[in-house]
């Protein structure tokens, strides 16, 4: 209960998001990256198709060297948010509103050509299914080198030399031989390393990893997570890491944004979120987590029901039908409000005991 009092106070003093100060308006869209400036700033992003909104009013920022985890179950709009950040949304899904700024440059107003020059150079993406995400009829070395040829104007020869170095750096043994392999000759974990090498090729400011370890075995996942952390420490790249697995969040995140049915329902530093989840959905996710080293037999505190389809989203708080705490107030949409510290939640009763 004390939490909810705090919330109201917090809400009164700071109001709704944006949580972090907006970057100074820069004229002409020229990048003026200062230390305080976030690498990526997404504001009021809404994505939809037909009459349905799939992502609604999503805002967040990622600082240099920081890892932001986007968490939520399938159909929450995590992947679409990432694709929108990369400017990769494909018809019939499109961005309806909102801005995406990369190091101060507004991406949504850029033409195809400028956007393409930025993709792969300033921001790169890693996908869930590494084998299918590589061209099956091209050698992997060449695929890594292509980014360098396209963005840095290297010849294929020198790009290949760099590609081999990159493969070495992501922990592929005998990189000069493996560069000549085709994707189907490599394991899933190896292909994901190739994808990472490809993403790193032009030293991007931001890497977006969409369920990058979900399809991998536990031991491989551990290796890839470790590799990504190490590389991030070395390069200072900002990272958005999409996952549905809270254990992976605990491994890699600095900050977390929890999404539910197209909206962000809670954000905060990873420790705060794990120690005192404020939104009932976050709390529910925490409770139905299974961990081999902690849990014993017994009933799980499951969240009843399922994620609503975007077309059949309830009015007000979308989590209302599944929420143990919901009452009449929840028929009005709760705004994201700051709680203590940097933690925010979109709930009328944040942190309330069940």
């Amino acid at each position: 209960m004390t939490v909810s009092v705090l919330t109201r106070k917090g809400a009164g003093s700071t109001g709704a998001l944006p949580v972090q100060p907006r970057p100074v308006e820069s004229r002409g869209g020229t990048a003026r990256a200062t230390a305080a400036e976030p690498v990526l700033a997404i504001e009021s992003l809404t994505i939809g198709t037909g009459a349905v909104d799939l992502v609604i009013d999503v805002s967040f920022q990622v600082a240099p060297g920081e890892t932001l985890c986007l968490v939520g179950e399938s159909g929450c709009g995590k992947s679409l948010t990432c694709l929108a950040a990369m400017g990769l949304l494909a018809e019939p899904v499109r961005r309806r509103a909102g801005s995406v700024r990369l190091a101060g440059t507004e991406l949504t107003s850029l033409g195809d050509r400028r956007l393409r020059e930025i993709r792969g150079r300033d921001m790169a993406m890693i996908f869930q299914d590494p084998v299918a995400s590589l061209n099956p009829v091209q050698r992997v070395g060449r695929q890594v080198a292509e980014a360098l040829v396209v963005h840095e104007g290297l010849s294929m020869r020198s790009a290949m030399r760099r590609a081999i170095e990159l493969l070495d750096r992501v922990g592929i043994a005998r990189p000069d031989e493996r560069a000549n392999a085709y994707p189907h000759q490599l394991s899933g974990g190896m292909c994901q390393r190739v994808m990472i090498a490809m993403a790193l090729a032009c030293r991007p400011k931001l890497i977006v990893a969409d369920e990058a370890t979900t399809a991998l075995d536990v031991t491989t996942q551990a290796q890839i997570l470790k590799l990504m952390k190490t590389l991030q420490d070395e390069t200072g790249t900002a990272m958005i890491f999409v996952t549905h697995d809270l254990s992976v969040v605990a491994e890699i995140a600095d900050r977390v944004a929890v999404m539910y049915s197209g909206r962000i329902v809670e954000t905060g530093p990873v420790d705060a979120l794990f120690d005192h989840p404020a939104h009932p959905y976050t709390r529910g996710l925490m409770d139905c987590r299974l961990h081999a080293l902690s849990a014993a037999n017994g009933r799980l505190a499951a969240i009843g029901g399922t994620v609503p389809r975007p077309a059949a989203r309830p009015i007000g708080c979308a989590f209302r039908p599944r929420c143990p705490r919901a009452d009449a107030r929840c028929e009005t949409l709760p705004e994201l409000r700051r709680l203590f510290g940097a933690q925010t939640a979109a709930c009328h009763f944040p942190g309330a005991a069940r």
Partner: protein, 312 residues
């Protein structure tokens, strides 16, 4: 490419060939006594008996089959009673003309079919796409003999700018080649479009976009090499349709190729000619299929290279 792969395909090709020879043999034997069919009706009975012995028709079937195969291997395809010459000679002298027509139509198909298909796929949903697809479905539905007659009516009889039949100059080639190529090109265009669209939806195409690869490079470097594999296959495998089409189109334009010969031979039941042509086409198709398989393996590293090398 592994030797195993090539040998496997070769075995399949040979098996198909054996099947074709057996098919002809069985049909030939089932359809009645070849002696009475191949000899004029008024042949005396003693001559028939002599022929039966000479051709080994009094022997058991397996032996007959062995003799038949041996004969074919020695180039003995029987005698054309209409020409009174070895059937093989009659057929072979028609082959160059049919090749000329077929290859022209094939070239037309590849340019129009693959080009149109790529164009339609890249301009998906636009009027270019719709127009191309409308044309392909019309080309596909149009009986080629009817198209041929219409073309003759227009170009040869009404406007009198092209000859209606026969061989000679390149002008004689235009109408038959266009007629023959149309429906084939339509099939190829539709297939090209759909396989390219499928590739464009693959995850690796999204990777290429995420990498910032320019459009042209994405299409030329990533999409077409992947879409090309099924396209090559279908162009090769559907070659049978082109051969079948030639059989119909050649008589329409009085093009003295193998197709016309076959139609006449069937009409006059000149069986030696028919079996020669059937076997010739079988060999052609088997060779083409074999080449397609090999090309497929050569284009697709998933087949070419032994899989299963390393783990992370």
């Amino acid at each position: 490419m592994s030797l195993r792969f090539v040998l496997g395909k070769l075995l399949r090709a040979l098996l198909t060939l054996v099947l074709a020879v057996t098919f002809v043999f069985v049909v030939l034997r089932m359809s009645g006594d070849p002696v009475t069919q191949m000899l004029p009706d008024d042949t005396p009975a003693s001559v028939v008996a002599d022929y039966r012995q000479m051709w080994g028709l009094d022997r058991p079937l397996p032996e007959q089959y062995a003799r038949y195969v041996a004969g074919i291997l020695h180039g003995d395809f029987g005698f054309s009673f209409r020409d009174d010459r070895p059937a093989l000679d009659v057929v072979l002298e028609r082959v160059p003309l049919s090749l000329e027509l077929g290859l022209t139509a094939l070239a037309l198909t590849i340019v129009l079919g693959i080009g149109g298909g790529i164009l339609a796929a890249l301009k998906r949903g636009t009027s270019v796409d719709h127009a191309t697809m409308a044309m392909t479905i019309m080309g596909h539905s149009m009986p080629n003999f009817f198209l041929g007659i219409l073309l003759i009516l227009l170009f040869a009889m009404t406007w009198r700018i092209l000859p209606s039949s026969g061989v000679g100059t390149w002008k004689h080639l235009i109408l038959p080649a266009v007629t023959l190529g149309t429906s084939y090109a339509a099939t190829v265009a539709r297939f090209t479009r759909s396989s390219l669209l499928e590739v464009l939806n693959q995850p690796f195409m999204r990777t290429a976009r995420a990498k910032g690869v320019p459009f042209r490079r994405r299409i030329l470097g990533h999409a077409l090499p992947n879409a090309g594999i099924p396209i090559v296959t279908v162009v090769g495998l559907r070659l049978g349709a082109l051969i079948g089409g030639a059989v119909v189109v050649e008589p329409v334009f009085a093009w003295p190729g193998v197709g016309q010969l076959l139609v006449n031979a069937v009409a006059f039941r000149d069986l030696a000619i028919v079996q020669t042509i059937v076997l010739l086409i079988a060999v052609t198709m088997v060779v083409v299929n074999f080449m397609v398989d090999i090309t497929y393996g050569w284009l697709d590293p998933r087949i070419r290279v032994d899989s299963g090398e390393a783990t992370a």
